[in-house]
Symmetry: C2
């Protein structure tokens, strides 16, 4: 059976690939084969890859809500874009949960020009300048050019504070944070110069999705009972993370958003189930 990809190209449906993904998102071993078979049987005659994802999410949702959230996470971060919530603000929330002091939109003097830094984070006396790179398509990778300009920016700022007495504005590290993967060249360059990359599946043990998962810092866009309009309204009312949504009661949620009804109840229930049931996959 062939699956039609977003690009229009055809690809054989591969149960082993879906099984590997389900394993990675932490679905219990005994359930993996069952879900793969159910997905396969439920597909239409000319399925799209979008349909495969929808079906898998559907079964995961009934089987393991935490695995469903992890399966949906990459897409969910991309869906933050259309709600108007900036990716760097989400990363700021994430780093704060890991004990960093984070400031957004910082002006910094370079030797040659002024720079606008997406984030500045501090922890244990170390100061970090962070460049955030958001892509709105899963196929786009951050390439070596992004790593090169982030590093050149760091060098320009470094040259400025090295000429100051006292070095009060020193940055000890430069990070590039992105919601998709990076090219092999970008990773190699970053490792070589000492730039830290935090991205999808990299670095293996502390990749973006693992940092999110370990603290259950899922964005609300991971919830299957929402849609873009609902997400936008919730985010405008201050609910960006599933945990924020789960910890208020339904009355307060209704009061703060001006919303009500079955839809709000559904997403609130789903948020609570996810925060309660999800067991960190570490």
């Amino acid at each position: 059976m062939y699956v039609i990809k977003a690009s229009g190209a055809k690809e054989l449906f591969r149960g082993d690939k879906l099984a590997a993904t389900l394993k990675r998102v932490g679905l219990a071993k005994a359930k993996i084969e069952e879900v793969v078979n159910k997905v396969k049987l439920s597909l239409s005659r000319k399925p799209t890859s979008h349909e495969v994802i929808e079906r898998a999410l559907n079964y995961l949702q009934k089987t393991d809500v935490a695995a469903a959230a992890r399966y949906n996470l990459k897409r969910a971060i991309m869906q933050l874009g259309p709600t108007g919530f900036p990716f760097e603000q989400y990363i700021a929330r994430l780093l704060t949960a890991y004990g960093y002091d984070v400031v957004t939109n910082v002006q910094a003097n370079g030797f040659c020009v002024h720079h606008e830094l997406d984030l500045v984070a501090k922890k244990d006396g170390r100061h970090i300048m962070i460049e955030c790179k958001f892509h709105n398509s899963p196929g786009l990778r951050s390439d070596v050019k992004t790593a090169l300009y982030t590093w050149a920016r760091f060098l320009d700022i470094k040259k400025a504070w090295e000429q100051e007495h006292g070095h009060t504005k020193e940055f000890h590290e430069a990070w590039l944070v992105t919601n998709t993967k990076c090219t092999a060249d970008a990773i190699q360059y970053a490792r070589c110069v000492g730039l830290h990359i935090l991205s999808w599946r990299h670095p293996e043990e502390n990749s973006l999705e693992k940092l999110i998962d370990q603290k259950k810092l899922y964005p609300i866009t991971v919830l299957l009972s929402g849609n873009q309009m609902l997400f936008s309204k919730l985010i405008r009312a201050g609910f960006v993370l599933v945990a924020d949504l789960a910890k208020v009661n339904l009355n307060e949620l209704s009061r703060r958003t001006g919303l009500g009804g079955k839809r709000l109840y559904g997403i609130h229930q789903e948020a609570q189930a996810l925060i309660k049931d999800s067991s960190p996959s570490t």
Copy 2:
């Protein structure tokens, strides 16, 4: 009278702005006011900026073919894109005319990663690595990030050859060449680190459009009697520059392109008139 811009925004029609542009492209002083008035009178009730350009080109074409070519040059370079002719190949032709030895698509070792360089140029014993940045919209400027990554690439390559004995692969200069303007930050950064920028209207005395004009190296897309299909066919047959087109006779042109008729005659005539009449504006 208002003019509707490509973005949909409205802007007052400004005769003084059009006059300044006509002066810059070298139209004789006595003619400027006449052309501005003719353009103004010929506009429809709800003119677009595209219409203003078309009308001005129309009158310029009858008044001063070289000024018309210069007026149309920025758009013509952008129109090379859809023909499939790469911008870096056009820049290679330009630099060759100025006595540089130019090689395209060069692999270079960096200290951290391999780099693919758009162009490498040599002249008077100096070796230059060149990054070409093509934009397909006049509103897009090359920003400081482009200057930063070009410079970081240069540093990485520099670090590699500094560790070699003999320094045989040394680059003495790094250039960024782009078909639109650069931001003020990009120019400031480049000046500070020693990166050479060649772009629209910068540097003032040797900007891209002046280098093109001084040697009459107009791309054929500057010719008003062509359209995209004709341009593509001519370029596939090896005619990229107006000068290439002007120096063959019509029979040979017809033989080499497999084209004929009024259209081919018209563009050939226009090419010859431009090469004959245009007086470098230096």
